[in-house]
């Protein structure tokens, strides 16, 4: 398939290319899951070998829309990552039970969504919970129940979970319709995670989905804070849909989980996303929907690049390790990171500029947003220049970088309509960063304390020579 650089540099909505890449990802997940199933039947502890096939079969044997959604869910992505990185080693029976229990939760969600009858064997996670990852439903039996075997029964959209030696907890069919629902049943708290958009849940308690979040602190929000977080995210996504409908469509299709992060001590917004959990965005709460939409677009863009690299890596292999000057950070970054940065910051800058232009370029309340756009354009130009100079891009990667450069040009022109002093301030900040962290204009990173002691020919400007004389 020949990828269209414009559609991947910016947004084109859920067209044929998007669907084709999604299908490729589904096929890849299916292949990986089949390999896991085969290995599991050979190597899993004997006690688990009887129950595990039912979970695998529920996913592998019935191709339908619900399965397609699960195959591209970040929880399954991460489950497969854990499988592939750990389960070829000597793993204890408890880890096998946990991992297969997590799979049973996803298989149960599939059966719940299909309305089919099934009985699956699972294990409560280290927090004593069972999440039907892929959907909103979870059962919390408390930490004392951690690691306990549990049977899951689904029938007609209803779900029952019976931990060994415990009472059944039940979520009736339709429980998940009321997103954010909470009930007590059989000694468990049954919850339905709230939705920020259709099929995009806010989840702060899933052991599987939290396990891979390592860059920032996690936070389990109480019901009130969860509602507030969700409301702002919902508002941000609705605003994005007004400005760029295609972008919003892509976001709601790819992003299935929002994972709340602890707000940093400096109260700055933090966010992250992971290549091992495509479709999950981690972000701290802000009451500003503008800030949240910036963060969501930024992290979504990283996810989108990770998504399309299923087909094309953009930068040829063999040059992923070396680090270069990054205009956004005090430390050096890889070439791929620079491309990801330019892609994300330009998408955000374009979005924010459109919002500014739709409001008023003469509105003083827009000054911070304008400054942000002006600075991000200069930084992105710098990163794209480093990529052009140092990276061997694939044909598609080169086309994406060229499209991003064109957008840099268009935004540079648009920024000319911003206040001159504001532009000068942004330019000074970008230049100061370059002077501090880049060797000249080379794209090479200059570490703190670097001293240029290279011997050079003596030279003085004519004016300086005359002055000295």
């Amino acid at each position: 398939m020949r990828l269209d650089a414009s559609a991947w540099a910016f947004s084109a909505g859920l067209g044929a290319q998007w669907r084709a890449v999604t299908r490729r990802r589904e096929q890849s997940a299916l292949r990986r899951l089949r390999a896991a199933s085969a290995a599991c039947s050979r190597r899993a502890p004997a006690a688990l070998r009887r129950g595990a096939p039912r979970s695998f079969d529920a996913i592998l044997k019935k191709p339908d829309a619900a399965r397609a959604r699960l195959l591209t869910h970040p929880a399954l992505d991460y489950w497969l990552h854990l499988w592939e990185t750990h389960f070829d080693k000597a793993i204890g029976a408890e880890d096998w039970a946990l991992h297969l229990g997590l799979l049973a939760g996803m298989a149960a969600e599939l059966c719940r969504a299909r309305g089919t009858r099934a009985r699956l064997e699972s294990t409560l996670d280290p927090n004593g919970r069972l999440h039907l990852n892929g959907g909103p439903l979870s059962f919390d039996f408390g930490p004392a129940a951690a690691g306990r075997p549990a049977a899951i029964e689904t029938d007609g959209g209803a779900v029952s979970v019976v931990p060994a030696g415990g009472a059944p907890a039940r979520a009736p069919a339709g429980f998940c319709v009321a997103a954010g629902a909470r009930a007590e049943s059989g000694g468990a708290v049954v919850r339905a995670a709230p939705e920020a958009a259709a099929g995009m849940f806010v989840e702060s308690r899933s052991w599987l989905c939290n396990h891979g979040v390592v860059m920032h602190g996690l936070v389990e929000l109480d019901d009130a804070d969860l509602a507030r977080f969700t409301a702002v995210a919902r508002e941000a996504l609705a605003e994005a849909a007004v400005v760029e409908p295609g972008l919003a469509d892509e976001m709601t299709d790819l992003v299935r989980l929002l994972i709340p992060l602890k707000t940093s001590d400096t109260m700055a917004s933090v966010s992250s996303s992971y290549t091992t959990m495509r479709g999950a965005i981690c972000l701290s709460h802000s009451d500003s929907s503008i800030l949240q939409v910036e963060t969501l677009i930024h992290e979504f863009c990283h996810q989108k690049v990770n998504f399309v690299t299923e087909i094309d890596p953009m930068i040829e292999p063999g040059q992923m390790g070396q680090v270069y000057y990054s205009p956004w950070r005090p430390d050096a970054r890889r070439l791929r990171g620079l491309l990801l940065g330019a892609h994300a910051f330009l998408n955000v800058a374009r979005h924010i500029h459109r919002r500014i232009a739709a409001a008023s370029l003469q509105d003083p309340a827009m000054v911070d947003a304008m400054r942000n756009v002006a600075l991000r354009v200069l930084q992105s130009e710098s990163a794209l220049s480093t990529i052009a100079r140092h990276a061997d891009a694939t044909a598609f990667g080169a086309a994406v970088a060229a499209r991003l450069s064109q957008e840099c040009g268009a935004l540079s022109l648009a920024v000319m309509r911003y206040p001159e002093a504001l532009r000068a301030e942004a330019a000074a900040e970008a230049a100061a960063h370059r002077a501090r962290c880049q060797l000249g204009d080379t794209g090479l990173y200059k570490p703190a304390g670097f001293e240029d002691r290279l011997p050079r020919a003596a030279f003085a400007l004519p004016a300086a020579s005359a002055e000295a004389a």
Binding site: G318, G321, Q322, V323, L335, H390, D392, T442, Y445, P447
Partner: protein, 204 residues
Amino acid sequence: MKLPECLELIAAWSAQRPGKWDGLAEEASARDAALGGADWGASFAADPGEGGFGLCAFSGGEPVLRLRWDGRSGALRDERRFGARRGGRVPVVFSAPGAGPRAREERSAALAAARFASPDLSAAFRLFSARCPVAAVETEWEGGAPTGAWRLRLRDPEPWARFLRVDLAVPFGPEAAALSLVFAGRFVRAAAWEGESLWAELAA
């Protein structure tokens, strides 16, 4: 390049980091005179702790002498004298201060035919060769056993800045700015591993 150009490169490099380089010019000049004015290349270790660089004299494109200098002690670390190539093998006389000369051999093979201790290393070299095509893998042997030293000789010398981008060159990353000031416009003819450090061998 001729020895004076190599020594200027080394002087520029030594301005960037502390070390004892004074005796190197004298040692190299004596050998250059004995060789009747050879072509030379310079090599540099990625690890700053290694504090070393080397010089290699060539005749007709084949190495005849290779010196390694220890910048920490300010003394010659070792010296290799190369004999005439026969097929894929070159006899080497290795000597180091305080020890007698030892007979070694440098064996050369195409990357596809070379055998490595680990599949990871083999995969890394294949990736490297996709960006910087490798003409030959040279390994050093003594008494029928490999010494652990290897060299990837490039098909075409690679501009320093382009060599720097590949994963194999990552050990040079922390000093990329300082090194690039010195090596701007130079070409890498081989990447080598000796002891605990990666070396880049530069040509004009």
